[in-house]
Symmetry: C2
Subunit: 214 residues, 2 copies
């Protein structure tokens, strides 16, 4: 079997910080990994806003409770799990996606942890390791697997580069222009077709509902 | 989150070669990794019998089609997937477990491939890598995870040794005596309780149906 590595936010679920921006009205929280290439800079920016506005984990969990997977993500993931070994490689935090992981049927997600105080305040974050998506792809290759990968943002570039096949999923025009060497999918159907063609394990075709990002 | 690594046959599903022995009446196929410490010797023994008796993959797939997960395995796996990142590390072959993987709800299984001819005959086997269970545990630890592991046989020993917590699940008396340093579980309830106590992620209790191997 082959391994598929997928980014989470923007590929299977909405951007969680944008949802928090929507709910709180704090426009400064709209920056994502699609806008800023330094994840550390982005997180320091976010956490300073969280502190200034006194947002604790209880608030944030409540705001994220009703967020649903993107339209079509569940049948696509079901097909993918049947025919590949699926790993979701994300720079989000386990504390943010407890409910969402359940909605996705408890897939393997490799991401990071927040540091939460006894009073539910976000005190900081612990990146699991530097360049964690690339390191994970290399680890799977060293276990003897062929790795196909897809993402949409700056923090996916080294994952796509190190995978045996890397695919943009609904990238911004800027990402696409900066890294034009990867194939581009804008629907789950296209992504499934590219994965099928790249796999040596002959998975049957996916025929899910069409989905393009709004 | 923490990672759980589980052996497959004897822990979640019956021994597949024993099922083939039952169906064919070939008693020589009853040896398993619980009996022989050299996996290569065991596989050469099995494949020579398969060839002598003209068993092809179609026969074998038909024989294995009705094999079901062990009683209680599905609720245990469901609980485990919710609270851990679950990897099934097995020395079986993807070609043997296509139907069984589906019955287990398509979990991540790292195992090996058989070499199958165009006429559906088993020509040989390709081990993914030497000591593959231990290598996988190390890879997960290098990705920054704590690894809990459980198995029942010779080929699980290095996995249990390299895990942060290793647990025997229904081992033979011989295995238990030879490697007495590991805790022992004989039901999924006990295994879940040991994993809970060893995890730093505070999973809630499992309360599934009791199960001891017949």
């Amino acid at each position: 079997m082959d391994i598929c590595c997928l980014d989470l936010e923007g590929v299977l679920i909405p951007e969680m910080w944008i949802k928090i921006a929507d709910q709180t009205g704090i426009d400064d929280l709209r920056l994502t990994t699609r806008d800023l290439s330094s994840y550390d800079e982005l997180m320091r920016h976010r956490l300073s806003i969280v502190e200034r506005h006194n947002l604790d984990m209880k608030h944030i969990r409540d705001m994220l409770k009703d967020v649903e997977p993107l339209a079509g993500a569940l049948p696509f993931l079901k097909w993918l799990h049947r025919h590949f070994l699926v790993f979701i490689l994300s720079d989000t935090f386990y504390e943010f996606i407890t409910d969402m992981r359940r909605k996705l049927n408890d897939p393997i997600i490799l991401c990071h942890h927040l540091e939460i105080s006894a009073h539910d305040q976000i005190k900081g974050y612990r990146l699991r390791q530097p360049d964690s998506k690339r390191v994970a792809v290399h680890a799977f290759q060293k276990l003897g697997y062929r790795v196909l990968a897809s993402g949409d943002s700056y923090n996916d570039v080294t994952m796509l580069q190190s995978a045996d096949t890397g695919v943009w999923y609904c990238p911004s025009e800027e990402m696409r222009r900066k890294q034009p060497q990867f194939q581009v999918a804008t629907t789950y159907q296209q992504l499934a077709d590219i994965f099928r063609a790249a796999s040596r394990c002959h998975p049957p075709a996916f025929s899910g509902p069409m989905h393009a990002r709004a």
